[in-house]
């Protein structure tokens, strides 16, 4: 509709001109000739003006179109995210009853005297448990995206120190160097409005990952600094690294790099971190080099 109106408006001056010309030829307009004369400089000015007018018009149209496309893209992205959430919640829902039945069924199977049979029952129990955890954790990520935040000023320095302490007790932490660098001068980190428990969960997950993917003898560094209205927390490691083409996908639910298959995990740690940080109005980024290591950055608005 808008496009048709546009074309009509565009053609209108030509039609008006044609009508006036026809009126002139048939003698219905005053007959004297109009002679327009001007200096070459004035012609140049007029021509320049006309070209600029056309160019400005084209740019205006392009701007309007860009805006419209931007809006459409945002709508599509939001729709896609909504669809994904819906799919996950339906999948979660459809898996719950079968998993409940399977857990009850395996609990009824008496481990007989046959060791092979006992091993089989144990395997089924463990795998059903693993599936149960997976559906629960997927659900939790969706919950974080929509849950109400218990928001209050959080001292990130305290929180990080505590999580690093917890990480030092993790299996394998003793064989890796774990360094912490928090600013004290000229001033310490400002408090960040947020949910301390969720933020701890995010930091704990990053530390967990860094230790998991760093070989014994490697180094993990945790840093935080204030930058342009945000606090940036970095967890860096000298681990196996992530290939550049896989880097964007590590934030997706259940993505597991082929080279990370040997390390146990659900592929839900980083998506969870992202959900927590984005819920706080912040954003996450990662840089990595294969064979050298990875750094994950959380930026949280102050």
């Amino acid at each position: 509709m808008a496009r048709t109106v546009g074309w009509v408006v565009a053609v209108l001056p030509l039609v008006a001109g044609a009508v006036l010309a026809w009126l002139g030829q048939t003698g219905r307009l005053p007959g004297e000739r109009y002679d327009v004369g001007a200096l070459p400089g004035d012609w140049a000015l007029a021509a320049g003006g006309a070209v600029t007018a056309v160019a400005v018009l084209v740019l205006l149209v392009a701007t309007v179109r860009d805006r419209r496309w931007g809006r459409r893209l945002r709508d599509r992205t939001a729709e896609a995210a909504q669809d994904r959430r819906l799919l996950l919640s339906r999948l979660d829902h459809e898996l719950k009853n079968p998993l409940t039945a399977m857990r009850a069924a395996t609990a009824n199977v008496a481990a007989g005297s046959d060791p092979a049979q006992a091993a089989a029952v144990r395997t089924i129990e463990e795998q059903v448990l693993r599936l149960s955890r997976l559906t629960t954790d997927l659900r939790k990520i969706a919950d974080i995206e929509s849950a109400r935040l218990d928001r209050r000023p959080v001292d990130l320095a305290d929180l990080i120190e505590e999580m690093v302490d917890v990480a030092r007790d993790l299996p394998g932490a003793a064989e890796r160097e774990l360094a912490l660098d928090l600013p004290r001068a000229p001033w310490p980190l400002p408090p960040v409005p947020g949910d301390a428990d969720l933020l701890s969960l995010a930091v704990a997950n990053l530390l967990d990952n860094a230790l998991k993917y760093t070989p014994p003898g490697g180094r993990v560094e945790v840093r935080a600094r204030e930058a342009a209205g945000s606090v940036v927390v970095e967890v860096a490691d000298t681990g196996q690294g992530i290939a550049p083409d896989e880097l964007p996908q590590v934030w997706e639910e259940m993505y597991r790099s082929p080279s990370a298959r040997a390390v146990p995990g659900s592929g839900l740690g980083l998506p969870l971190v992202r959900a927590v940080v984005e819920r706080h109005g912040g954003h996450v980024t990662a840089d990595s080099r294969v064979g050298e290591g990875t750094v994950v950055r959380l930026s949280l608005p102050v």
């Binding site: 719950k96 009850a104 009824n108 629960t136 218990d150 701890s200 704990a204």
Partner: protein, 235 residues
Amino acid sequence: MPSILLVDDETAITDNLAPFLVRAGFEVVVAGDGDAALARIADSAPSLVVLDVLMPGRDGRSVLREVRQGGGTVPIILLTQIGESGERAMALEEGADDYLNKPFDPHELVARIRAVLRRGTPPAGRSLTAAQRLRSGSLVLDRTSQRVFRDDAEVVLTPRATTLLAFLMSHPGETVSRERLLEEVWGWSFHTSTRTVDTRVAELRRVVEVDSADPQLVVTVPGEGYRFVGTVEAG
């Protein structure tokens, strides 16, 4: 022998859960839908009902409402599908005594059934999980306003610590694991950092205990979790 009415429309679940509960020492009656559940509650007077929420026709919440509106005080454990805290809060407000998210460990269900049966039916007919106010000696927690009073003076707790106290007070005498507290109070079940629970319990003790180094209300059960040891009454 306590009798349990097990209500779920999925026969795959009832077929396996019923024998499990029988071996755990309960008498079990099964109902496959909401209307059958109401009929069994009326004619077989079970000691406790394990009730699935999502069922075709009359669902679990409708059964729960019907029973409570008719003045029925039979303890009810809801089997919820939806892990959202809003849904859980609603279940408790409508008078459920406990709830368990599917998929659950059948041993956990037995533990919950035993805990609810041990709690008994409060004389006022209102279970602790549904009460507006919880009182233990001089400690009072008002659920509606999320405020805590000690010796009639208000004490300041973070919202999470208040929810934690409310949960512990509505399960007096029960040992609750850190993992379960994480799931119930924080709403997540990730295995990392159960220390979060310890931090909040420490905050709670500083405020509600006379001597936080020698806790008399919220005690640690080594290797298991925490337990609220005071007597709790509703109102």
